[in-house]
């Protein structure tokens, strides 16, 4: 048995910056939509609405910076070498993080297996986890639906890939 997050990729340079530029319009749209659809999510965050979270999908060329402040919502892609000082860091493979957001996987189990790493303010991470876990329905599917049939097709492909992933099983 081996732990899954051996090294953290650089996520810097031209490729990373280009990828950030490309995904940013999508991220902005996604986070506004989620906030509008699930306002109760913010209450469970309590004092951590102003916390800077760095969500780090280790298999993507960039990280994600989230500040879940309902008055000034921030969700942006950042190169790892330009990531802000975060209050809390959540690290794992992208598809695992997606499944955790949708409660298709259990966060504690992913932590036990070392597929998920957290550092920084643990209370902030616990609050974010519990807030997302209380969301009914699938945030991933809602997001995919925003982009019509192509969005749903991409999500379906990602999930099939994840379910066949030998590391997961």
């Amino acid at each position: 048995m081996s732990t899954r997050i051996r090294t953290i990729p650089p996520g810097s340079g031209v490729v990373s910056r280009l990828a950030c530029t490309m995904v940013q319009p999508i991220l902005s749209r996604v986070v506004r939509r989620i906030a509008a659809q699930h306002p109760s999510l913010f209450a469970r965050l309590g004092p951590h609405q102003g916390t800077d979270f760095l969500i780090d999908p280790v298999d993507l060329p960039f990280a994600l910076h989230l500040r879940p402040d309902p008055q000034a919502l921030l969700f942006r892609a950042v190169p790892r070498d330009a990531a802000p000082q975060a209050g809390a860091v959540i690290r794992g493979r992208f598809l695992l993080l997606l499944e955790l957001v949708d409660s298709e996987e259990d966060g504690d189990a992913a932590f036990f297996s070392r597929d998920l790493e957290v550092s920084g303010d643990t209370e902030a991470v616990v609050r974010l986890r519990n807030a997302l876990d209380d969301v009914e329905g699938s945030i991933a599917e809602e997001t995919a639906a925003m982009f019509g049939p192509p969005g749903r097709a991409i999500l379906g492909h990602l999930r099939r890939t994840y379910s066949r992933d030998p590391i997961r099983t």
Binding site: F112, N130, D133
Partner: protein, 332 residues
């Protein structure tokens, strides 16, 4: 054969609906304050959320049990009194209590209410259990996880109330309701504040070699090698050195989960009325998977078939499971 009611955890309204839909006979939950032993950040129910949850559960024939299973500190009893009054007004089906004062208040103020004695009361003898039954009208006791099945069978013969046992989840063997390990490091009480290893005091540090240290209030309580499964950051499951044990070792307990899926027929035969799944702090994914698996198993047994329980190892702490004292007191 006993009824074998399945009692399932819910840390959020969404988890409660998940448990109900997965086949729970009863769901237990708590308010967002120190009145329950899972007072974790972002977890639990507001009064409005509980009102809606009770309607949802009752609409599907599922009971809602309200955990008021912490011990009020001197001068702060009002919080527990208000929670009990609120629960009664919202129509919860039972209160899970540990403190005698809380039990006494509910028995007097809401005599129609049903009382369950929490594992936090650590009542493990017929004498103790009969006391709670006689003085507060307790209808069910949740037994500590330190008894063998023959001992449970014998206790059942000597008490006038139902028995509930844990069958899956966290395997805590400290004397529940009396464990003060967290207090020593954090100043917060598991039993009065409802938080064991409060998240605000927990820190995980990744070392250069891929190992991970878990710290509580600045004290390292375990270090997991790059190839090791991890456990919860609780003192009782940490590894330590001692003068007589220079190599680090589990001084109290090991990170492992209880799984009694293979013992369900024997537990039913011993007269256990209800099976409890631990994990209000866990996700909907956990609730969905574990509740559905045990629903199927209990239904199979009640129909006279062998239970075919799903593999739940991936959801266990440290990916290890045990039948603990239920199988033998020599389990460690």
């Amino acid at each position: 054969m006993s009824h074998a009611e399945l009692v399932c955890p819910a840390g959020t309204p969404a988890a409660l609906r998940t448990a109900v839909d997965a086949g729970a006979d009863a769901v237990y939950c708590g308010f967002q304050n120190a009145t329950n032993a899972r007072n974790f950040p972002g977890l639990n129910f507001t009064p409005d959320e509980l009102a809606v949850a009770v309607l949802y559960a009752h609409g599907k024939g599922t009971k809602v049990l309200l955990a008021l299973n912490t011990y009020p500190p001197a001068g702060k009893f009002d919080l527990w009194r208000q929670a009990a009054d609120l629960g009664a007004r919202l129509g919860v089906d039972a209160f899970i209590v540990a403190d005698m004062g809380v039990a006494d208040y509910i028995a007097r103020a809401h005599p129609q209410a049903r009382l369950h004695l929490s594992v936090q009361a650590a009542a493990s003898t017929p004498e103790a259990i009969r006391y709670y039954c006689a003085h507060f009208g307790v209808k069910r006791v949740v037994l500590p996880r330190i008894l063998t099945i023959p001992e449970i069978r014998q206790i059942r013969k000597e008490i006038p109330c139902e028995i509930e046992t844990f069958i899956f989840g966290n395997h805590g063997l400290m004397v529940e309701g009396r464990c003060s390990l967290t207090n020593y490091l954090t100043g917060q009480s598991t039993n009065m504040d409802g938080v064991c290893s409060p998240a605000s005091d927990v820190e995980y540090v990744r070392d250069a070699d891929g190992a991970m240290s878990s710290r509580l209030a600045g004290f390292t309580i375990d270090r997991f090698g790059p190839d090791e499964m991890a456990g919860y950051p609780t003192i009782c499951k940490g590894r330590y050195t001692a003068p007589h044990r220079p190599e680090e070792y589990y001084a109290f307990e090991e990170p492992v989960s209880l799984n009694l899926s293979r013992l369900l027929p024997e537990l039913i035969g011993a007269g256990v009325h209800a099976f409890k799944i631990e994990g209000r702090q866990r996700s909907k994914s956990y609730v969905r998977g574990v509740v559905a698996a045990f629903r199927q198993a209990v239904d199979d047994i009640r129909a006279g078939h062998a239970a075919n329980i799903a593999d739940l190892l991936a959801l266990t702490e440290g990916q290890k499971q045990t039948q603990g004292a239920f199988e033998t007191k020599k389990w460690r």
